[in-house]
């Protein structure tokens, strides 16, 4: 298992505030990593750096041995990095099936894919993704008729369809009921069987359900890293993030 992502000495400043401070962070191929940290620790900023939406002041990001630090977001997406935002992002009036179809390849040109004839292979792949995210029975429904949880699952399906090597999931269970969160965590675990996944999540039930290795960011640096039990036992992590343990 080789290293897929390396963040080296990454620093970024916004309006005079240092958000990431010489951050070093790496992930192996096919790893599922949970990223924790106080609000404002730099988690979302790190994701925005990896996807190219923000550029760092210094440091670099290597992905599959290529330096992607200065690449455009589009080029980074094409090379296999996909991001899921907290709020689901999809084509509201297209059907569930069509949303997956336009995401089938990394080149998301919606009109091109709506206009073209699908191969049998493409169709099979769309149906297998719809079954994977358990929305096959709603394939013909417009996306805007789905429940909040179903929309989150559809977006995960759209991400898988673009065939990424690395998925960055920023609080994908936001606003869900506890059962919805549990089901989403199961889906993420299944996705992680064939993908590298970096998950930002505050809900410790989810973290406990899926975590293998956990990284805790604080003030733009790695405060702790290791198994969930090691991290939960860490005094500094308890002080800045977990509290007395009532909601851990």
């Amino acid at each position: 298992m080789g290293t897929l992502l390396q963040v080296q000495e990454l620093t970024t400043k916004v309006a005079g505030y240092t958000i990431l401070n010489k951050l070093n962070f790496s992930m192996d191929d096919n790893e599922l990593r949970v990223l924790l940290g106080p609000n404002g620790a730099g988690k979302t900023t790190l994701i925005a750096m990896i996807t190219g939406q923000f550029k760092p002041s210094s440091g670099r990001i290597l992905f599959a041995d290529q330096d992607i630090t200065r690449w455009s977001p589009d080029k980074i997406f094409q090379c296999g990095i996909s991001r899921k935002f907290q709020v689901p992002n999809m084509y509201e009036t297209l059907s569930v099936f069509d949303n997956v179809m336009v995401s089938l390849q990394s080149d998301r040109r919606v009109f091109k894919y709506l206009a073209r004839r699908l191969s049998g292979e493409d169709r099979d792949r769309i149906w297998s993704i719809l079954e994977f995210i358990e929305l096959a029975d709603k394939a013909d429904y417009p996306a805007d008729t789905l429940s909040h949880g179903e929309r989150q699952w559809l977006e995960l399906g759209m991400l898988i369809a673009s065939n990424p090597k690395l998925l960055l999931l920023d609080e994908p269970t936001t606003g869900m009921t506890e059962e919805g969160k549990f089901k989403t965590a199961e889906l993420i675990q299944r996705i992680a069987q064939n993908h590298t996944v970096l998950l930002v999540e505050h809900d410790m039930h989810i973290v406990r359900q899926i975590a293998r290795k956990v990284t805790v960011l604080h003030q733009g640096q790695v405060l702790a890293e290791g198994s969930l039990s090691d991290v939960v036992a860490n005094e500094m992590v308890r002080a800045v993030y977990l509290g007395k343990g009532k909601f851990v």
């Binding site: 609000n39 404002g40 429940s147 909040h148 505050h202 009532k246 909601f247």
Partner: protein
């Protein structure tokens, strides 16, 4: 102190709430639970007057507020902490709080001291723009902004969403203090069941715009959760 009687609320032509009724007693902490899209936030917006009901009534301390505008309801003692907090990003923390005081119809006598007692961190943030605060800081500001209006009824829409465990603990202790010290009833919409069981006395579950279960918080068993709140 609050009586919601058979309200029907619509968004355009969509009928969201169907004859919803419940009551909150003086100083009580009451939770409304439900799946996403069940109508919980619409219920909050009906009570605040942002999206008033077309039928039924809402009575606060014996006063029928059903036909009143939002700011009139604020004057009578209803304050709202919306989901997403809705901090005004381009003005300072102090100005966010002062606006709430003006909204209550009070002169600008400065920020009351109890704000710094409940939220010590706010003192150091007063000059910062609302938009640069972290999620936890925004939530504290949002609750502080509601509290300076001296509400009789505080509406909190998913106050723990997106917050780290230690900040959730802080929110719990603040809600308990508000309840104990300020004789303020709290209506809470929340998905975090541990949080709900910790701070509330009674609950209602809403499903597709109808109340399908209600009772004391001890009645919120795993079986009720499984049957009424599963996706």
């Amino acid at each position: 102190m609050l009586q919601v009687r058979a309200i029907d609320t619509f968004y355009g032509t969509s009928h969201i709430l169907h004859r919803v009724s419940f009551e909150i007693q003086d100083g009580e902490i009451y939770a409304v639970l439900g799946r996403n899209g069940a109508g919980k936030t619409t219920l909050m917006r009906s009570i605040t007057g942002i999206n008033p009901p077309r039928a039924g009534s809402i009575v606060l301390d014996g006063v029928d507020v059903t036909g009143l505008k939002s700011h009139k309801r604020t004057h009578l003692g209803i304050s709202y902490v919306p989901q997403g907090r809705e901090i005004i990003p381009d003005i300072t923390v102090a100005e966010n709080i002062e606006l709430a005081l003006i909204g209550k119809g009070e002169r600008r006598n400065g920020i009351p001291d109890f704000v710094f007692d409940y939220f010590p961190a706010i003192r150091d943030l007063l000059g910062r723009k609302g938009g640069v605060l972290s999620g936890g800081q925004q939530q504290q500001l949002s609750v502080a902004r509601a509290l300076v209006q001296s509400p009789k009824l505080l509406l909190l829409d998913e106050p723990t969403e997106g917050l780290q465990p230690s900040v959730v603990e802080e929110i719990v202790s603040i809600i308990k203090r508000i309840h104990a010290e300020r004789n303020c009833a709290v209506l809470l919409v929340e998905q975090n069941l541990e949080f709900v069981r910790d701070v509330t006395q009674r609950f209602a579950i809403i499903d597709t715009g109808r109340i399908v279960a209600q009772g004391d918080i001890g009645d919120l068993t795993d079986e009720v959760v499984r049957t009424q709140l599963s996706v």
